[in-house]
Amino acid sequence: MFKDLRSFLKKLEEEGQLVHYHDEVLPEPGIRAIMRGSADLGATGPAVLIHNIKGYKGRKLVVNVHGSWANHAIMLGMPKTASLKEQFFELERRWDKYPGEVKWVTGAPCQEVVLDSFNLLELLPMHKVNEHDGGFYLSKASVVSKDPDEPDNFDKENVGIYRLQVQDANTIAMQGLPFHDIAIQMRKAEAKNEPLPVAICLGVDPMLSFMASTPIAYDLSEYKYNSALTGIPMELTKTTDGFLDVPAGAEYVLEGEILPRVRVPEGPFGEFPGSYSGARQQVVIKVKRVTHRTDPIFENLYLGRPWTEIDTLLGLNTCIPIYKQIKETMPEVKAVNALYQHGLTAIIATDSRFGGYAKSVAFRAASTPHGISYVKNIILVDGDVDPFDLVQVMWAMSTRIRGPQDVIVIPSTPGMPLDPGSEPPGMGCKVIIDATTPVAPEPKMRDVKMVGHIPEAAAFQKIISDLHQKAGCRL
């Protein structure tokens, strides 16, 4: 497994999943064109290390690191051909290993160079992620902060990815939404009129980016989860002022603080639903010190019209917590596919204990911590339907749904403010589409028998695939 970004990039290169781009490229629109193009390569696309950015000679930028399911599988230590369903259940298995061990080191690589004088817009090869963004964004930064009332509670030290607009040499505007963990800490600090120290970590190990964007409970540690999922102790070090814990192997760490009771214009920003959010009044971070590795690599992420790197990064880490939370009380649930726009649409496979049960599963999904604001469209399929196989899901919807009984809209629920369908921003609805087969006491559908699986087919699939390759197929 990978203790830092560099060791992961090395592995990606060995697996043919990292390419180098050496031709000169303009920051705009060249970099986002590379990001978009690599994302469009789909499930097997590579990461791209960009070496020659006009005006930023000598700076390196890596993009699309989590941009494909192949790279995602390698992050998990699995073969790059592992299916989505296999990756889901492997993650599900490791999830129960929480908490993993963490350890602290001194002389950390992330502090090989310490800068008290810097201009972030010159130090980092910044670029407009989307054409009409209001400025230059860090789109894949892990922000570390502590609970102001419990600074010694390590489990409440938060690591989260939030959009960050670098506005000048040392000023960053940050979007924290009310349901984000950091908003709890901001509120506490601002109520006391105190700054909130933060460390913005760039280029961290791939599983930390994964965990920093996972919706886990406030008092669960992203660092301990990282160790649980990788199987190796997460290596941390203290920021130079000794207050926050940061990944020892990070490429860059920007040390600063959120100013209390200040808001400034920020945005717009092309967001994960594939739409621009408007300009907003957001909190401000003043960066006081930058530390970085020797010859650092800046990592950033493209997001826009799906499918992009963010859809892969936020894919299974959205599915697993929802699945685990439902499964606690509803063991009939088989899997959750919440890959679509951070769970705005979720497909849940479940057996039905009794009539109407699937709709209760939907209510449970809609009331999980993440589901309250995000999970809007909930599609329920039978337990023998693979929710990651959209052909099977469409079949279930095509043949099971009886409109009057199976399609329910609950208006005026919480919504995700960045969803263009959330009006006003923050309000929404729940759409439940029950494509499961009715069980007693609910009346049966017409007396129809579905065609069953053919268990003998798997062996023949292999035989015919081999014959196909011998016949010259190069797929």
Partner: protein, 75 residues
């Protein structure tokens, strides 16, 4: 220089190409915080050619949505 987005604020140079090539400069508006690079296309840098949807010249910045409102001071 006036901001190309809000048309009111004063924009100044906040960064230059760090390799000394003079390849570009970055400007930032002190009022609406819009940032842009001199090498971006005119559809971004020329107010006459910008998409009106993204202009902030008719917007009271104080009325922008505040996702996380400032809480009352704790006594």
């Amino acid at each position: 220089m006036k901001c190309v987005r809000c048309l009111v604020g004063e924009a100044s140079v906040v960064a230059k190409a760090p390799d000394g090539s003079g390849a570009w400069e970055i400007y930032k508006c002190a009022r609406c915080n819009f940032g842009w690079r001199s090498t971006e296309p005119e559809s971004i840098t020329d107010p006459a050619k910008r998409d009106p949807f993204f202009q902030l010249d008719k917007v009271d910045l104080n009325n922008l949505i505040i996702p996380c409102p400032i809480p009352p001071l704790r006594s």
